[in-house]
């Protein structure tokens, strides 16, 4: 098994000549590189990367919304980050059906990380308001735009919660 997968890995490396840099955009994997918090590294719980995570290049001061799906029986950890310095990202969560506000980090000491479960599987609207401030200059990116990342991680809830799924 190990041998086969090793061969697979080597094959991947040899047959692909893709210039990923040419395909990725300005902010690329910003959320992966910048959103993880120091305290997460000492967390021995096994949160997995969730593919609904995203990075984007946005006009500073603008608000952006995204709709995602979360499942009952799972723990989620959402972390936001932005390249502008000295500013706070406003981070809100709404129920997509009712528009009920479920979380606002302004009421949580402007925390950039929120860990939660949900009483039901549902669609959520994540609203991010990007702060203004000095952003790094980079080829292909206007200086008045900023990279923003939303890192979503998940894990199956502990047994007691899961049994009630």
């Amino acid at each position: 098994m190990k041998k086969i997968l090793t061969i697979l890995a080597v094959t991947i490396a040899s047959v692909l000549s893709t210039d990923l840099a040419a395909q990725t955009s300005v902010c690329g994997q910003f959320h992966r590189k910048n959103c993880a918090m120091e305290s997460d590294k000492d967390d021995d719980r096994e949160f997995l990367y969730n593919a609904q995570s995203k990075s984007g290049l946005f006009a500073q001061g603008s608000t952006s919304k995204m709709r995602c799906v979360i499942y009952k029986g799972m723990d989620y950890r959402m972390t936001v980050c932005c390249e502008t310095a000295g500013s706070q990202i406003n981070f809100k969560i709404f129920d997509a059906k009712t528009n009920e506000e479920l979380y606002d980090n302004a009421k949580d000491e402007n925390s950039t990380q929120f860990e939660f479960q949900s009483a039901s599987t549902r669609q959520l609207i994540i609203e991010l308001t990007v702060p203004t401030g000095e952003a790094a200059s980079k080829k292909g990116k206007p200086t008045d735009a900023a990279c923003v990342g939303l890192l979503i991680e998940h894990k199956v809830s502990d047994k007691t919660g899961f049994s009630k799924y």
């Binding site: 603008s62 919304k65 479960q117």
Partner: protein, 302 residues
């Protein structure tokens, strides 16, 4: 929803590992509660073809569902009988079947990674690479990703995550290449394959996590349909959209009840409210058969 052109340019979606699309759903269509006023047609996006990013939506990866099934159903499963045989690749000669089956094979690769079926993973990687080249996606794996894969041999979670990366990096390449219609077909293929696999693995048992996860796909399907609507002027997308709407009609028959209160463990906050979707054995059978019909129409196309 008026957006200054400059802002529209600045708000180009740039995710490297996600599906991020402006939503083109009609807020007044049907009686579906999810089509609230938060789901609006972005006029700037429609007129300019630019993704403004003002409202986007994400779709959980097929791999996430497969990982969940592995957790609840055991790691020992090695059944590959229901996957699309890699040899079928030679039958896909038109752009529609290539795109659909790129998504399907990517999901099959994810399945083999998730369940540590190394020999098959190797086969599916090759067809994913080949079809990826043919639809304009030089599969997005760089040297560092290959190194990650090598370092994580024997770690199913990590292999599954790497498969996810391949899947979504391909999405990004299609987005950057303005191939939204192809992307729509890839998403549809991958999603239907994940449902097909799960309904083959999970037998009906009331209140089981696996069955509930299938019922919950109602929400993800809605996201995918909204995305496909944006490209329905493409005949291939339109035909797939018709099939997915047929599946949605079955999901719409499922009963929804208010979710009860749940207490979090160890101080974890619980977002209350929402609804629980209920599915009967008969409904599960009907939905499974519908999924099978759609999936076979994708894999048997030539």
């Amino acid at each position: 929803m008026k957006i200054k052109f400059k802002n529209a340019l600045l708000a180009l979606p740039l995710s490297a590992s996600l599906l991020m699309v402006s939503c083109g759903g009609d807020p007044h269509e049907g009686d579906d509660m999810t089509h609230t006023d938060t789901t609006k047609v972005d006029s700037a996006a429609v007129e300019t073809g630019i993704e403004t990013g003002e409202l986007s939506f994400q779709v959980p990866s097929p791999g996430e569902m497969l990982t969940f099934v592995r957790m609840v159903g055991g790691k020992g499963n090695k059944n590959t009988s229901f996957l699309n045989p890699a040899d079928n690749n030679k039958n896909y000669n038109d752009s529609k079947s290539k795109a659909l089956n790129f998504g399907i094979y990517s999901c099959d690769l994810s399945y083999c990674s998730t369940f540590e079926i190394g020999v098959e993973a190797f086969k599916y990687f090759k067809v994913v690479k080949q079809l990826g080249d043919e639809i304009g996606v030089s599969t997005s794996i760089d040297a560092s990703m290959a190194k990650r894969l090598e370092q994580n041999v024997g770690n199913a979670d990590s292999l599954a995550a790497i498969s996810d990366d391949l899947y979504y990096d391909s999405f990004e390449a299609l987005q950057n290449g303005k191939q939204g219609n192809v992307l729509a077909l890839v998403i549809a293929g991958g999603y239907i394959e994940s449902l097909y696999i799960v309904t083959n693995l999970v037998k009906y048992e009331a209140n089981s996590p696996g069955i509930q996860r299938v019922a919950d796909q109602k929400y993800t399907l809605e996201n995918i349909i909204d995305f496909l609507k944006k490209y329905q002027s493409d005949a291939s997308v339109a035909s797939v959209l018709t099939e997915l709407n047929g599946l949605k009609a079955e999901f719409d028959k499922l009963k929804e009840t208010s979710a009860g209160d749940t207490k979090g463990k160890d101080g974890v906050k619980v977002l209350g409210g929402g609804t629980t979707i209920e599915i009967t054995a008969a409904q599960y059978k009907t939905i499974s058969e519908k999924i099978k019909t759609i999936r076979n129409s994708f894999t048997q196309s030539k």
